[in-house]
């Protein structure tokens, strides 16, 4: 029987190829995900390995919460610790290092990193801690000297001896480039700019006088890093985290790996999973059609004595071989897909360092192989079972139909139930409690179930939908439209599954468009409603504060009524999770921000905000069971405990979630009191454009500060969100492409099945053009059905999910433009898919077609 299955595949090369593609693309995405995440992990492991190669023991501030080292957020150590460590027996050398954010200003232009990577400033460490390799010049050894990583120097054509500027918390400092270095032996770390200064310059410029970010320690010969670590740890307070260099490298690598494993990999695999699901539909459909077409053949096998089991294994054998072949090709193609993803991330400003490509058996090969083969087998199982039910008598009779099973009576009910259950599961996953992973899995499972349910239900919707969609084609003269419409309803099950494959891709596109549009509208809506400033100013570098000096500079511009810095940071609430603490100036905030007061809140109350008083956001109050007058405990990242006292509530889950305190109190909760956002409002009656120009001029000394009017800010926010959306679209494009092959396959098989009919149509005067048109229309109608179903399920699922986010202020808003575009895309996909089968049909020889059996 194996040989028989092989023959069958070989004699239907095209069908086999089209079926295989459905699985190739999905497994390629899976394999590619494993390849690229492995590349990222390895790259970071290399980076941290290099960083700590010469360090025996590493000291940093122990964060009070969170598992991370948290970067600059954690806060510095007192520089006096360096001396204390040096005095410890067994320490040969100990030096501090400052890590900050900043970049060069060349000819007035701020040099950004590539693809959203960070702009780093670090103070130079001496040997043996310094693992960099000098390419040119020397490391900074005097004031106002900097050295650059080679990539930054190359990209901007910077040379040793050149005078440039460096952004600091005190504005732009004039510096001279004295050296160019490589990190270990590589010229770049994922596109980051890296500027090295002296320790004392960095202390002065980045608000670290008398402090150090970290301390690197080298031990005397003969003492192991572990022993030295114990010895140092015993003599220092508990808030100093003491690690061996190896431990520090491992911790930082693990932190990145954790982020990759918990977010990046599952997210990419989800898209691969969608592609595989679409592939399963295509395979199910192809096998269903071919089993129907080969009924005579199976009956013949039965008449000559083949067992049902043997018929089953013929079909499953073919599926197995298709699955294995496709998965193997997919895994090879995965390397290409990984490269594509890397380029894509870089293009949308999400640049990541990538190590060389390496493919591991687990999970990179085994998982895609297993999924590819199992999905192919599972999808072909039902058609294979049908094949076994072909009675031997069908060999002798034309047009024999398979007996219906008792189960098929219940299909519509089962389908409807699956659809409902799927939607409910999604709702349950969104609103339920429990670990995030489990909830996400529930959502994914619910989505899959609802897709399958709708695919099954859609069989009963094909007739009315095809009639409605085909209506414009059938009016006027011309038979093509009418024939196409009839053809789509000829085998509703087949059309339904073909359309359903496209439905999944379009459904997910619409789902994400609606959700993300809701998020965008909520944010922009909140700004429109509540923010009454003229300018919204932030740093170009993500997460970098706006220097307090810049706030003062803006305030000094004539025409500016209020320049208000808003600061926020994460703090731990009681013994639970973290939330935002917002530092505001109660006297000026109402001039820039319209409060929506809740329980006990009022503008008058704002005036009394001082000391340990806090205004809390409604949701924050709810989740921590707070009422005005209650107190709550917060812990800052550097371990300070403060008891806050709620005096009232406001509502704004989008812009000011968490709670608000005065800037004075805020400085108790943070290690960096500089604001993240600067809001500027003009005095009434001033010329807006002129004032904006004046503010820009006044902030020239802070080139990393991005001065935007409110509408510019909203635009750039939308742009960023749209880029995320485009990335999702590209990832979902694979699913749409697979369903396109599904349409090609179904049409090609239908054309083959209707050969004689096509011959008749041609004989009685149908032109080739008309025939092509008929198939084109059939394809477009099917695709539009898929598009409509996708839009419906996408909107419904997005609505269900948005219910779960309502408390966070996320609204449900359908982006009609995008929805219409997705329908047009579906129609175009249908037209593209028709090209090949239509050409095939048109080229049929009339006489041969007429005589075809």
């Amino acid at each position: 029987m194996t040989r028989y299955a092989l023959r069958s595949m070989a004699s239907h090369k095209l069908r086999t190829a089209l079926t295989a593609i459905a699985i190739v693309l999905g497994t390629a995405m899976m394999a590619g995900t494993f390849v690229i995440t492995d590349q990222i992990r390895n790259a970071f492991s290399d980076i941290f390995g290099t960083s700590f190669a010469g360090t025996d023991v590493y000291l940093s501030r122990r964060p009070a919460f969170g598992n991370g080292t948290g970067g600059a957020q954690v806060g510095p150590l007192p520089a006096s610790l360096i001396g204390r460590v040096r005095a410890i027996d067994g320490v040969s050398k100990a030096d501090g290092q400052i890590q900050a954010i900043g970049s060069l200003v060349v000819h007035g232009k701020y040099l950004s990193s590539q693809g959203g990577a960070p702009n780093l400033v670090v103070s130079t460490l001496p040997k043996p801690f310094n693992e960099n390799t000098l390419v040119d010049g020397h490391y900074p050894n005097g004031p106002n000297q900097v050295a650059l990583i080679q990539q930054t120097a190359d990209d901007h054509d910077l040379k040793v001896g050149q005078h440039v500027g460096l952004t600091t918390l005190q504005g732009v400092k004039p510096v001279t480039i004295v050296g160019v270095f490589q990190f270990g032996d590589v010229s770049s770390i994922g596109g980051s700019t890296i500027i090295a200064t002296t320790f004392s310059d960095a202390q002065r410029w980045y608000d670290r006088v008398g402090k150090t970010s970290t301390i690197s320690v080298d031990g005397e010969p003969g003492i192991s890093p572990a022993a030295l670590k114990r010895r140092i740890g015993a003599q220092l307070p508990h808030w100093v985290k003491v690690q061996t260099g190896t431990e520090a490298a491992k911790e930082q690598t693990d932190e990145i790996s954790g982020a990759i494993n918990s977010f990046f990999t599952p997210a990419l695999l989800a898209f691969a999973g969608a592609a595989v699901l679409v592939g399963a539909f295509v395979i199910f459909n192809t096998f269903s059609i071919t089993v129907a077409q080969r009924m005579r053949e199976f009956a013949m096998l039965r008449t000559i004595g083949a067992m049902r089991r043997q018929v089953l294994s013929t079909v499953l054998g073919e599926a197995l071989m298709v699955g294995v072949m496709a998965s193997v090709i997919g895994i090879l193609a995965g390397v290409g897909f990984a490269k594509l993803l890397g380029a894509l991330f870089k293009a949308i400003g999400f640049g990541l360092p990538l190590a060389g490509i390496s493919v591991h058996a687990w999970p990179g090969v085994i998982v895609p192989l297993a999924v590819g083969v199992l999905v192919t087998l599972a999808a072909s199982f039902a058609p294979a079972r049908r094949a076994t039910r072909v009675p031997p008598i069908a060999a002798l009779r034309e047009g024999a139909v398979l007996p219906r099973t008792w189960l098929s009576r219940f299909t519509p009910y089962i389908a409807g139930l699956a659809l409902l259950a799927g939607i409910l599961l999604v709702f349950q996953g969104v609103t339920g409690s429990g670990p995030t992973t489990q909830r996400l899995l529930t959502i994914a499972g619910g989505a899959i179930l609802s897709f399958i349910g709708l695919a099954m239900v859609s069989r009963y919707l094909i007739r009315p939908l095809a009639r409605a969609i085909g209506w414009p084609l059938s009016i006027g003269r011309g038979a093509s439209g009418r024939l196409a419409r009839e053809n789509t309803t000829r085998n509703t099950g087949r059309t339904a599954v073909t359309a359903a494959a496209l439905m999944i891709g379009i459904g997910l596109v619409v789902f994400f468009s609606v959700l993300i549009n809701g998020f965008k509208q909520s944010f922009i809506g909140s700004i429109d409603e509540s923010i009454t400033s003229n300018l919204i100013i932030q740093s170009h570098s993500q997460g970098n504060p706006v220097p307090e000096d810049a706030v003062r500079a803006a305030q000094g511009v004539p025409g500016v009524d209020t320049a208000l810095g808003v600061a926020f940071t994460q703090v731990k609430i009681g013994h639970g999770g973290t939330d935002a603490a917002n530092g505001i100036d109660p006297a000026t905030l109402p001039r820039l921000y319209k409060f929506q007061w809740q329980k006990g809140g009022s503008d008058a109350l704002l005036g009394r905000l001082h000391g340990d008083d806090a205004l809390v956001e409604e949701q924050f109050a709810k989740s921590h069971h707070l009422a005005p007058g209650d107190t709550f405990q917060v812990t800052s990242i550097d371990g300070r405990h403060v008891t806050m006292h709620e005096i009232g509530q406001y509502k704004d889950p989008v812009l000011f979630s968490g709670f608000m305190v005065s800037r004075g109190t805020y400085s108790e909760l943070t290690t960096d009191h500089n604001p993240q956002v600067l809001l500027v409002r003009y005095a009434s009656g001033t010329d807006e454009n002129a004032t904006t120009r004046a503010v820009r001029q006044a902030l020239k000394p802070f080139p990393d500060v991005n001065v935007q009017t409110n509408s510019e800010f909203k635009d750039s926010f939308s742009k960023q969100i749209n880029q995320l959306l485009y990335l999702l679209y590209i990832l979902l494009a694979m699913s749409v492409v697979i369903s396109l092959f599904g349409i090609v396959n179904t049409l090609a098989l239908s054309v083959f099945e209707r050969t004689r009919e096509i011959g008749m149509l041609r004989a009685i005067g149908t032109t080739r053009f008309q025939l092509r048109q008929t198939i084109l229309y059939e394809s477009v109608i099917t695709a539009i059905i898929g598009g409509i179903l996708g839009i419906v399920i996408g909107v419904v699922l997005a609505w269900v999910v948005s219910l779960g986010f309502r408390s966070s202020g996320i609204v449900f808003a359908i982006p009609y433009g995008q929805v219409i575009v997705s329908l047009i895309v579906a129609a175009i996909a249908g037209a593209v898919a028709a090209a090949f089968p239509a050409r095939r049909a048109a080229r049929l020889n009339v006489l041969e077609a007429l005589q075809y059996e």
């Binding site: 003269r477 011309g478 038979a479 009418r482 024939l483 009839e486 053809n487 309803t489 000829r490 004689r756 009919e757 011959g759 008749m760 149509l761 041609r762 004989a763 009685i764 005067g765 149908t766 032109t767 080739r768 008309q770 009339v846 006489l847 007429l850």
Partner: protein, 241 residues
């Protein structure tokens, strides 16, 4: 002068040693309103001749004119339009579209041509073939005889110059076959419809006005039809030689 004029038509399949001469020089004329039957043993070239006369195939040499138009030089598009406007077909296996009702199948040629059906004409054709009460049924709900009636109506509806019928009774039992032949005959008489029917059944040929006998790609006899016995006699005579 006939509506069909064929001159020295040959048709060769394949090349070299394996070549088969299906038609070896056939000339014939069919006059307007005539009902001609083409007879002959299996493999004598009946179908090949019909396909060439209907513009479905091209002769290796020779010419064919339909209604005065030389068709052997036409391209695919022109041939398609010729078939659309001048030719009707009735096939052995009916070849109806399963998704369309009887009436829709009948109107299909007009639809394809994009021309508006004349209500009275369509009614008269449906009446003529005896499908009045079955017009809303789909092929699967019709008997073989009824399906062939639909096919005949479909061939008639565009008022073609010629109808070609290839073994129209070949897939029917003899009683139903006789009914179908009667319908064809009636249509020819009522509408003066020129018709060429390929058959190897003497009984079928007997209802035609004229019978052409083919053997090995040549016309070996061309005689008016009297009755089935007469035709049987001719067949016997031919096979004896």
């Amino acid at each position: 002068m006939g509506v069909i004029e064929a001159r020295d038509v040959t048709r060769r399949y394949g090349e070299g040693g394996a070549a088969v001469d299906a038609l070896r020089g056939i000339s014939l004329d069919v006059a307007a309103g005539q009902f001609a039957a083409v007879m002959g043993p299996s493999g004598s070239g009946k179908s090949t001749l019909m396909h060439i006369l209907a513009g479905l195939d091209r002769p290796t040499s020779g010419t064919v004119a339909i209604d005065g138009t030389e068709i052997t030089g036409l391209n695919d598009k022109q041939l398609t339009l010729l078939r659309r406007h001048n030719i009707g077909f009735v096939f052995q296996f009916f070849n109806l579209l399963p998704t369309l009702t009887a009436e829709e199948n009948i109107l299909l040629p007009l639809q394809i041509a994009g021309s508006k059906p004349e209500h009275e004409w369509v009614e008269s054709v449906i009446e003529r073939v005896g499908l009045g009460d079955r017009r809303r049924h789909r092929p699967a709900e019709l008997s073989g005889g009824q399906q062939q009636r639909v096919a005949i109506a479909r061939a008639l509806v565009s008022r073609p110059t010629v109808i070609f019928a290839d073994e129209p009774t070949g897939n029917l039992d003899s009683a139903t076959g006789a009914e179908i032949l009667a319908v064809l005959r009636e249509a020819v008489d009522t509408y003066q419809q020129t018709t060429v029917m390929v058959t190897h059944d003497a009984g079928a040929a007997a209802i035609a006005d004229r019978a052409l006998f083919l053997a090995d790609g040549l016309i070996v006899r061309d005689a008016p039809c009297k009755d089935a016995g007469d035709i049987m006699a001719i067949l016997a005579d031919l096979s004896a030689r």
